[in-house]
């Protein structure tokens, strides 16, 4: 089994592992960052919208025999719609309340989705229908699967797309304006509710898509599946500088790579601890994350 080049191969394989894990975190972190960017709310329920997307994909593929693309697109719609509904009922009434109150509702919504789904459809783990057959490519001994590539590419495309939307389009500017001063935004003609709904729709659509992609990749879904990656993705968003689209991606990839690295050197028991440690160290050097603007108040 021991061959020449084994070490190099292993290193490359680990890089691939890190990137594909990172792309998953990045995909989720993007949604967090969007929502946080506009209403400064840690949308705890984001991970659970991802779960809804996965369950939707599971259902439509198994029952209505959707193909991959239509499952993915419809999951995005489902994600978007549920995001908008959650915003409308749970967050909008609290828009002028202390932020911490909205955070608690967000936690409540997260619990509600997790446990509501468990209650309605049981908390069992299910296998996600393998609608795209996984194919492994062997590149000089380094294995990479088509689904890994798919997720990686999707994450990158979405990242660029979002960055363009936020920086270059009118809607993006409106989103930024609403986030800094809602009153003034209204005074220049921006419909705040619409803008916030749009942001939620966009962020949640990403989560919906992630649900299908990740369901397909890992082949296992359950109602609590959003919890752990949800928190990790949020950490990624913070690490990258929450509110920043490139930050979310970089944060996601960084965490994926760090986790992989520490596991590969035998620290699997401490992988999360080390990631948090690195997070804290980075925040000490860059208090607003890697891409975050450390907007000091002008006195």
């Amino acid at each position: 089994m021991v061959r020449e080049g084994n070490v190099v191969q292993t290193i490359f394989q680990q890089i691939i592992n890190g990137l594909s894990l990172g792309s998953i975190y990045a995909l989720l972190a993007l949604g967090y960052t969007m929502v946080y960017g506009i209403i400064k709310l840690i949308n705890f329920a984001h991970g659970d919208i991802y779960m809804l997307g996965a369950f939707w994909g599971y259902y439509v593929i198994n029952v209505w025999h959707f193909n991959f693309i239509s499952a993915l697109l419809s999951a995005m719609v489902v994600g978007a719609v549920s995001g908008v509904i959650i915003e409308y009922f749970a967050y909008r009434p609290l828009r002028h309340s202390p932020r911490i109150a909205a955070l608690i509702t967000a936690i409540g919504v997260s619990f509600l989705l997790e446990n509501g789904m468990s209650y309605l459809f049981s908390s069992n783990t299910r296998d996600f229908p393998q609608i795209i057959k996984q194919v492994n490519y062997n590149i000089g001994g380094v294995l990479i699967s088509n689904i890994q590539v798919l997720i990686l590419v999707t994450a990158c495309i979405l990242m660029i797309l979002l960055q363009v939307i936020i920086k270059k389009t009118k809607m993006g500017r409106a989103m930024r304006a609403v986030s800094v001063d809602p009153d003034a935004a209204e005074l220049v003609g921006i419909n705040i509710n619409w803008t916030i709904s749009f942001t939620f729709a966009l962020g949640s659509a990403l989560a919906g898509a992630a649900g299908v992609l990740i369901g397909l990749y890992y082949n296992s879904i359950d109602p609590l599946m959003g919890m752990t990656p949800g928190i990790k993705a949020f950490v990624a968003a913070v690490l990258g500088g929450i509110g920043s689209v490139p930050g979310a991606s970089v944060g996601g990839f960084l965490i994926g790579i760090l986790e992989t690295f520490f596991q590969s050197i035998g620290l699997s028991a401490y992988k999360d601890a080390v990631v948090y440690f690195v997070l804290i160290v980075i925040l000490l050097i860059m208090p607003a994350g890697i891409f975050g603007k450390n907007a000091k108040e002008k006195v």
């Binding site: 009118k170 500017r173 409106a174 930024r176 304006a177 986030s179 800094v180 001063d181 009153d183 003034a184 935004a185 209204e186 005074l187 220049v188 003609g189 921006i190 419909n191 603007k293 907007a295 002008k298």
Partner: protein
């Protein structure tokens, strides 16, 4: 008559801030609202621009009752406000702030033209075009707020203490700019602590006290009024 305010009552919770105010503005006029701190001037302005909903009363703009309309609709209809405390978008550059002002304008040519007009009036904004608006000095922010409102091509502009925090040399300039904006066809509703200056450029003025109109008249009449002089003109 471009704007008519009838029996306007506005509350903050249980606090009654505006207690039945009536006034009107004709097209092409400059009208001033003056009054002490807490008289309710800002509240009236916010109600006109749609940020606050009145308890009762009517606001009629170009013949239509607008008191239930939301701010974005009214911007589209031609009402722009320069809010008290400036409320510029920090984190966005000066340039982007101005772009936001033209949010509802679709015509790119028009936007370009507005840009050049604003930069002509406020050359300092051009110098600082790429700077984060949050780091501008107080006066610069005031200009930016004004420039942003002008980007929307308003028919009626509502100015809430535009001279606050400005250097004397600039106060004169601001009032010149207001006159000029007015000359180009924009109707102006002006709130000022600097009542002397405000009334001297106004066609008409209203004096507000604790939520009610106390006095009204032409700018020159009010300037000559003894009571007004004593209370608001410093002697």
């Amino acid at each position: 008559m471009i704007l008519q305010v009838k029996d306007l009552i506005v509350n903050y919770g249980v606090i009654n801030a505006v207690k039945g105010v009536n006034f009107n503005i004709n097209e092409g006029e400059i009208v001033s609202l003056i009054g002490a701190n807490g008289a309710g001037k800002t509240t009236i302005l916010k109600t006109i621009s749609g940020l606050l909903k009145p308890k009762s009363g009517k606001i009629i703009y170009e013949g239509k009752a607008i008191q239930q309309q939301k701010a974005p609709k009214l911007v589209k209809a031609g009402i722009s406000q320069v809010p008290e405390g400036r409320h510029i978008f920090s984190g966005l550059s000066v340039m982007e702030n101005l772009q936001m002002g033209a949010f509802l304008i679709k015509d790119h040519q028009k936007i370009k033209q507005n840009f050049s007009e604003v930069f002509e009036r406020f050359p300092i904004l051009k110098q600082r075009a790429r700077q984060d608006a949050a780091t501008l000095s107080g006066g610069e922010q005031q200009m930016l707020a004004m420039g942003r409102a002008l980007m929307a091509n308003p028919k009626l502009i509502l100015l809430d203490e535009p001279s606050m925090g400005l250097a004397p040399i600039f106060i004169n300039e601001i009032f010149d700019i207001i006159k000029e904006i007015n000359k180009h066809g924009t109707t102006v509703l002006l709130i000022e602590q600097n009542a002397k200056k405000a009334l001297s450029i106004s066609d008409r003025g209203y004096v507000l006290s604790t939520g009610k109109v106390q006095l009204s008249g032409s700018g020159t009449d009010l300037l000559a009024n003894k009571e007004v002089q004593k209370a608001y003109l410093g002697g």
